[in-house]
Amino acid sequence: MPNAAEERSGRLRRPPGWGGEACDRPARCASLACCLGGADDGAVNTVVLDGGRRSGHNTDWWGFAEGFRRGLPDADLSSAVQLGAGGAGVATAYAALSFGLQRLIGFDREGGRAQALARLLSPLFPNGQVAAGTDLAAEMKRTAGHIHTTPTGMVKYPGLPLDAELLSPEHCRYRLFPLETMLLKEARQRGCRKARRRRHGSVSGSRRLSAVCRSRTGCGTDARAFQGDGRLITDNGSLIKRAQGASSNRVTETFSPTVRRSALTQVSLAFLPRRPSNGSINEHEGQRAVVMGLSFWLSAAAFAIKFSIDEHFLGLLRKGDQKAMSELIARHHGALVRLAESVVKNRAVAEEVAQETWLAVMANLASFEGRSTLSTWIISILLNKAKNHAKRESRYAAFGDGDDPERDLGQTMRNRFDGSGHWSEAPVSFDGLTPERIVAGRHLWEHVRQMIDRLPPAQKAVLVMRDVEGADAAETCRLLELTPENQRTLLHRARTRIRNEIETQLTGGRSALTKA
């Protein structure tokens, strides 16, 4: 792919201060043409710029070999079929032959690539046999393993790279591309053993860093990968967090604080910044990496603590702990009554429905399986009871927004801006406001509670779901049977109304709101 190669070589010259780039499909092989120094196995996934000279490195094979060694330590290495003989295919074949595969049969949809693979690797491995296959079905029956290196199964290329019937449980397989493909799924269902690519990205990424580091400082700085957990620790001790869900093959995301990614289509480019001329590790970026790592682990710890507390609380409830049940009721009863009221349109009936709901919750807590959050489960019970109640009395109507005098709200907000679109009067700051603040002779929370009660039913229900019960948009739409757009509109109106009313309370009705 000479155009891609030219494009890449052009880009390599452009940004000053960058030390190298990561190459991805389809430019792995093409990149080789740009490099003076080639990788051992004839494909390149990392290009290092050093003093105007480009050298190519392939770190894929090393990551693959490590993944295979750890994932399938006792695999049968007598023979394997490999699907794909492109840039990644060269790396996997090189790795497989390096750790002792005796016979490798390559297949590739593009004519000639499997033959080229055989020609390239045969001289390097005189004790092994590398050949281009012609009959996939026959070779699949004969060989012990299957290596998949094509992009088939990725989002852009759905499907299986071969007939599912050809997979047998005896095959140990290794795939290089997506985390979950149809092929893997099919293989799992058929009982095949497999080595996943889980560790490939971090191992390969560390090698990439290593290649660039050596080039930049000449000090042989290496990077070590900690398997599976996405962390990389460099020799200078800086902990670098890998973004969750990031493509494992993009070293840019692995080393996010120090590396940037350009948005070139098809080819993922990463330019590693040069180190300072004094040769020291970039301390500022190292510190940022440490901060990112720390914040990640603090968030994870907070989540774990919350999860643990929730589990503990649920355990107490299941055991019939009265104090925990009282706590649960204190947390949710107010919200449940407002939700029920927005359905049955009557406070006394809503109180009854909420009470019935608590009785049902107490009776059925043991059967709560935890497939949803506890609050979602309780709200589902409540809404069912409320709807049944409303239907019995022929009062049930689905939530809509027709009950909201939106024009008034819109006009109120428009009055707050001048002709140029700027605030005609600055909004009142709520900083330092607490629920206990006495406003107009009462606690602020009492005012806000009344404000919520005055909201139109649909707005009240959405506000309670989102802001009181903490449900997300999808859950709110599902439980209240709203469209996403309707839900957002209702939430916007409810929040705006509450904010405006608090502001009016604080200013004693003297704010710009009163201009409406």
Partner: protein
């Protein structure tokens, strides 16, 4: 660049990250430059927390008794909003 008068319509989506990433970014950029809109959006965040806490402990006195439970020792909202 957004104008101040557009911010109130986008504030709710912004604080709960319901809007598109592009719109949220535009709002964030506007907030960097406009203290009045920052005050408005921060006020909306605080209002949502006040709404949440105001419904805590809103339990009629006899409910616990009807359910055969003891009332927890509290009065008023359970917690204060954090900023």
């Amino acid at each position: 660049m957004l104008k101040c008068r557009e911010i109130p319509d986008l504030a709710s989506d912004y604080i709960s990250r319901d809007g598109s990433k592009r719109t949220n970014l535009q709002v964030a950029l506007h907030l960097l430059a406009c203290s009045n809109c920052r005050t408005y959006v921060r006020g909306m965040r605080i209002a949502t927390r006040l709404a949440s806490t105001s419904l805590q402990n809103d339990v009629p006195g006899d409910l616990y008794e009807k359910l055969g439970l003891n009332a927890p020792d509290r009065d008023g909202p359970a917690e204060e909003p954090t900023r």
